[in-house]
Structure formats: C-alpha cells, structure tokens
Symmetry: C2
Subunit: 340 residues, 2 copies
Amino acid sequence: MRAVIMHAPGDVRVEQIPDASIVEPTDAVIRPAAVCVCGSDLWPYRGIEPLHGPTAMGHEYVGVVEQVGDAVREIEVGDFVVGSFVASDNTCDICRAGYQSRCVHQVMMGSVGTQSELVRVPHADGTLVRTPGMPEPDLIPSLLAASDVLGTGWFAAVAAEAGPGKTVAVVGDGAVGLLGVLAARELGAERIIAMSRHADRQALARELGATDIVEERGAAGVERIKELTDGLGAHSTIEAVGTQEAMEQAIGATRPGGHVGFVGVSHDVQLDGLGLFFSSVHLHGGPAPVRRFLPDLIDRIWRREIDPGKVFDLTVPIERAAEAYAAMDERRAVKAMLTL
Amino acid sequence: MRAVIMHAPGDVRVEQIPDASIVEPTDAVIRPAAVCVCGSDLWPYRGIEPLHGPTAMGHEYVGVVEQVGDAVREIEVGDFVVGSFVASDNTCDICRAGYQSRCVHQVMMGSVGTQSELVRVPHADGTLVRTPGMPEPDLIPSLLAASDVLGTGWFAAVAAEAGPGKTVAVVGDGAVGLLGVLAARELGAERIIAMSRHADRQALARELGATDIVEERGAAGVERIKELTDGLGAHSTIEAVGTQEAMEQAIGATRPGGHVGFVGVSHDVQLDGLGLFFSSVHLHGGPAPVRRFLPDLIDRIWRREIDPGKVFDLTVPIERAAEAYAAMDERRAVKAMLTL
C-alpha cells in the first residue's frame, strides 16, 4: 500500500509498504475515505521532536472497515467508522471516567501511522464509532476533523468550561484553535475572543463563532483581553499552541477562578509555580479524550449542525503529501486533506 | 499594643507598637481571642522569603469587634467574628464567583499583621463572619483554625474534588494537610491516604479521617499510592507543602482525569509542561478563598461536628512568640497558638 513516510525533518515521501493487517484479535483494518496532516505532524517535520528512522505518519482517519479480528464484536466489515488518534479499550476505569486518551491499554495511532491506503486500528470495539450510514461525500471532511482537531478543540472548550454567560478567549488560530471557537459557540458561550493576526484565519474564526478578534500577543495580548473584560480576564481560555508564550498568555488572560483548557502539545514549556499559584485559575488539558465526544460530534455533523470540515483549505492526492506538509509548515494552509 | 515583629530570619520579638485603629471607613478593629503562627510565617523565618525591615506578623484572627468605621453596616461592636487571611469586599465579580482571596480590592492580612492585641480588618462587612453568639472557650482554637488552615485545607479538598467514592491522597502533614484530611472525610471521601513519616502526625491524621498512611516520598511515594489504587493513582490529591518535590509527588500520584488541589505556596517550583500535559490531571489551587467556606465551617464547628482545633499542639502567651516560631520551625509543633 502507499503510505506517507517521514525520513528526516522536511523530508516527506510517499512509498510502498506492506499492507496493514490484523495483528491482535481485537484489531480492525479500515480503508480510509481520506486522511490528513495534523499540526502535531509539524513538530518532527520542523526538527523539534526527534525522528527515530523513517516513520509512517498520521493519526487521523475515517473510512470503511475491511477486516476485523476474531475478538471484535461490535464493529463489522462494511461499517463506516470514525476513530480517535488514541486507540482505547473503552472499558477500563480511566476510559469509563471519560479519559480514553489515557486508557490503560492505549495505543497512540501516531505510532501506527494512518496516512496510508489501509490502517490498522487496535481495540476496534473500544476505539471506533459507527456513523448512522454511509456518509455523503461532503460530510467526509467534517467526520475526518472529528478524529482529532474537532475533538481536541471540543475537549479544550469543555476543559475551559466554556458555556452560557462565559467569555472565552482562544489562543492559537490553527485548526484546533478555530474548532475550539466552534465548540465554544456550540456550548453556548456568550463572547468568544479569537487571538489571531492573519486576516484569512480571523475571517474563518468569525465564521465559526468568534465575536472579537485580538491581534496582540504576549503581555500586550493579555492586556487587551483584560480591557475587553472589565479588567478581570476571560472566564475560559483555550490554549491550542503548546509554546511557553501561548501558555503564559492563556493563564494571564484568565480571571481568578477561571478555567484554562490546554491542548497544544507543550514543547519546552516551564510553568512558574508561584505565578500559577497566584493566577488562581483551573488548569486542565493534555491529549484530548476524543472518544468521549465522538458520538455527540458525529451526531451534530450528521444533522449538519456544524461544519468543522471548513478548516481544510487544501486538498491534494496522497502522492503530493510533501506539498501538503510544506504548505502547513509555511502557514499557507490551515489544514491539508490527502485523498486516496 | 503588644505585637509580634520579625526583624530578620530567626529573629522574632514582641514589641509595643501603636494601637490598631480605623483607617478606612470600611475598617473594623477587633480584639483577638487568640492568634497563631502559620506554616507560611516560616518562609521569612527561614530566610526563603525576603523581609523588608521589621515586619508585623500574622494573618489569622478571631475575636470581638471593638470599633467599626462609618461605612460599616453589617458588623457591630461586640460581635464575635472570624475572618479570612485575605480581606475582601465580597461584592465584586471575582468574590461573587467564590474567589474572595482574589477580590479586586483584596488586602492581604499578612500586610497588616494580626499577631497583636488589636487588629485592623479592612472591608469589615465583606471579610468578617459573625458567630451565632459568644463561643465557649473550647471552640476558640477551632474558630481560629477556620481563619486559614481549616479554610485552606477545605479549599484544597474542594479543588481536588474529594467526595463520595473517591480515593484522596494528601501530600503534607502540616496543619493544612491534616485539615485537608478532615475536609476530605467531611466531604465523604471513601479512602484518604495521608503521606507522613512522623508518628505523631500519622496518629493525628488517622484521628482526623485518614484510612491509610504512606511513609515513602518522591517517586517511591508515587509508586506506593499507585500500588494502593490498582496502578491508577488517586482520584483527588491535596498538595499542602509548596515545594518542587511535593508538586511532582501530587501530580504523579493522581490518575488521568483526576484532580490536584494545591495550596502550598509554591516556592521555586517549575512545572514541566510536557509532564503536566501527559498527566491529564486537573490542577487548581492558590490562596484559598476561605471566606467562601466560613459560614459553613463556623456552622460545623458551632454544632461540634468537627474539631479542627486539634492541630494546635502548643499554646504559649504572646510574649513567648519566639518559642512558638522555633517549635514550628523545628517541627516540634504542628501549629502554635498565642494567647493574649
């Protein structure tokens, strides 16, 4: 099968590798309807995360089940399914508490690779959620977004306790931040402040529900959020970047007693204990338990209430994966879809 | 009036200073029934926090109102009152959200000093809570504990979401940690693991509600908590120390999706962003909004349901304040009360 392989920072190729197949009896193999490139795929692309040899890339996927292992009970060949970027049994105590991304038997799909013609999905019964039927083609991008960026933005909004009467600030204008805006709107937030200095992303943020745009960053960005909130700060802040500046901005922009939902994978971030202590915020985040939200998200997409697929602004055949990575790296694209 | 003055690390004296008096029309002056030394008074005593010249010490207080300013409406001369270590107006948006310790008009009582014969309390109407009448003398220690250590331990337990069905770990066996044990018990926790290696404090922890004791610290302490919780970690962890080791221990001992309530004033603590990200815990803490809990805590004490005054294991006249500081510094006393 064809698969996207990263050989070194900036070196992405499409190569033939052996077909994905059942390894554990709880596995399924699916044929993706489309795959995509994630902001987190850019960390190794930029040399910020180490690569240990040629690596099959990708962790997002939707598609049709081709094979199931002997122990799979719920999922059947021919089902159209959406899964999270973390495979989980959905039965352990951690899963049942809603933290399937930290399942005691978790498998990171990034360690399997999904940017390929076939994908092996561990813990198929726990991981995969069936759609009500075969989706119309125009729903594919939105369902694919549910696999990670929508689910992650949604978790960030839930972790930030976005809701009625709340002012929500969103740090980060990538796909996750933009879908955090959408999630905050769906959860009923009164005011949603998107922090962005790119006109096209500002426009998309407004389309997805942002009521205000703040272009300033760092301390100036924090001051601007405070000006907009009677000097107090936002009730809820979504952090969707993963840098020191973004975390400090998110914590600084939040009022005492408020909530920060952080989902940017923290790179070289050190939080000062005393600063956090006197911020009096709630801090919660980490790898999003997308599986918790998938049934609800699929339902909203199926009923065409939300259109998270809007974050895909570049679509290329998988052979041109290198172009997709470069476009996202250079911020010419918010998020790129690869067709098969 | 006599007051405890710290001149330098380790140098605590009782001196005559001018009587406390009304400065702002919203002030009250109270005559404390007793005062006490806090674990946080030990930071400057040990030279870890800087002193800027001779400093009037203390921030905990209960007693009888002697004078009120012209703008005070609710509190009257002769009332017996309890207040928090942060004076607050109790009317701003932050106060009304339950974060009176971060009131937009907050005054830290530590900047006023309370280890003295009279105490000026700013924002008297917002800060002070009346008891149902003049307390029996044996209730004074418990009411005094409510002013900070009980309220702080209670907040930590609430921030950690201690409650029915939960396993709660408590890092720190000082007065706040011990009263965190009591709070977790009162909030209905199923299992309470106190981390302590001192026999007398272990005994007190058990008396206050601990079901298990863990003597190990650091990584070994984390491993022991995991052994006691099916490898998952505690649902709720109270951090009541404020050091790097204690914070790492608290986060490490908590299961994904669990809650850490941290109330130890963080000193030289740096939290690794990636570690926090993959811990998937909720982190909340800071200066406890004791005012939020005072009516409930006074009620529980008044009905003799709880006896937090047990943490006072040394009582000396205020003239001997230096002895009280030394005893706490050397961990010969959990908490010292000063009589007037």
